[in-house]
Amino acid sequence: MSTVKSHVEGTTLIMERLFKAPRQLVFEAFSTPAHLEKWWGPSGWETKVYSFDFKPGGIWHYCMTCVDKEQGDFYGMESWGKSTFIDIDPYSRIVYTDAFSDADGHVNPDLPVMTITNEFLDTSEGTLFISRSEFPNEEALQQVVEMGAVEGFTSQLDRLEAIVSQ
């Protein structure tokens, strides 16, 4: 298991992870549609990339579909996302906005748009990946979490106990 560090600064979540893989490969996992389709969606969900224009201003439009019957009401559900790349520094940095959309690529104006900044750094042990997810405000965080409650309904208390016992 790699090192995982995460903390919250205001309304931004910062996560750090050390991957034992070359920086080019880690970067390509984010910049190649065929790669993204293999790991992006939650388990039991398939990701299909419909458009991917990897340049500033370019669009990444994708759909995640629940293909796992065990997931009850989620089975068959589709979740469309539309991202716009803002800044790309090959093998070092990708900045994009992440929005909820429909199949036609219309962004849902009632749901928040997040800004994601991913950085890729060489270290002696591998590639240090730093991801920042910036929410416009606290309500946005709440909405995003409610939209994607796909990881099961763990009770609040279970999570609290996990935190306190850490």
């Binding site: 992870r17 880690v26 790669h35 790991w39 208390l157 609290l160």
Partner: protein
């Protein structure tokens, strides 16, 4: 946000107070009832409830000279939302890690 989370963590970082939260999720409690349920003294119970109250986790209603404590329903939301989001993103990075390991294995032809 961080300050709010820090005060929540502090208020919850005690086994008795966590048990209190669990009890308060089901119904309202007076100090006497709560003390009996937890098997701790009334002054101790009052002290812990006071800490939960100060952290904004519980509300107090004074009713016929008795204080009834209830859980504030939205109190745990910020904590919960960040935890949920973090858990989801951590899972995504786990999948990325698996993908990277598999890609490298394929490249090495093994």
């Amino acid at each position: 946000m961080e300050e709010r989370l820090a005060s929540l963590f502090q208020a919850l970082a005690d086994p008795n107070r966590l048990r209190m939260i669990e009890l308060l999720r089901k119904q309202e409690w007076t100090v006497v009832m709560m003390a009996n349920q937890l098997g701790i003294s009334q002054p101790q119970t009052s002290k812990h409830l006071r800490i939960l109250y100060d952290a904004g986790l519980v509300t107090v209603t004074i009713d016929a000279n008795r204080r009834r404590y209830a859980l504030k329903s939205q109190a745990l939301e910020p904590l919960d939302a960040w935890r949920t989001y973090m858990a989801r993103e951590t899972e995504r990075l786990d999948r990325l890690e698996t993908f990277l390991a598999e890609s490298q294995r394929e490249e090495n032809g093994s």
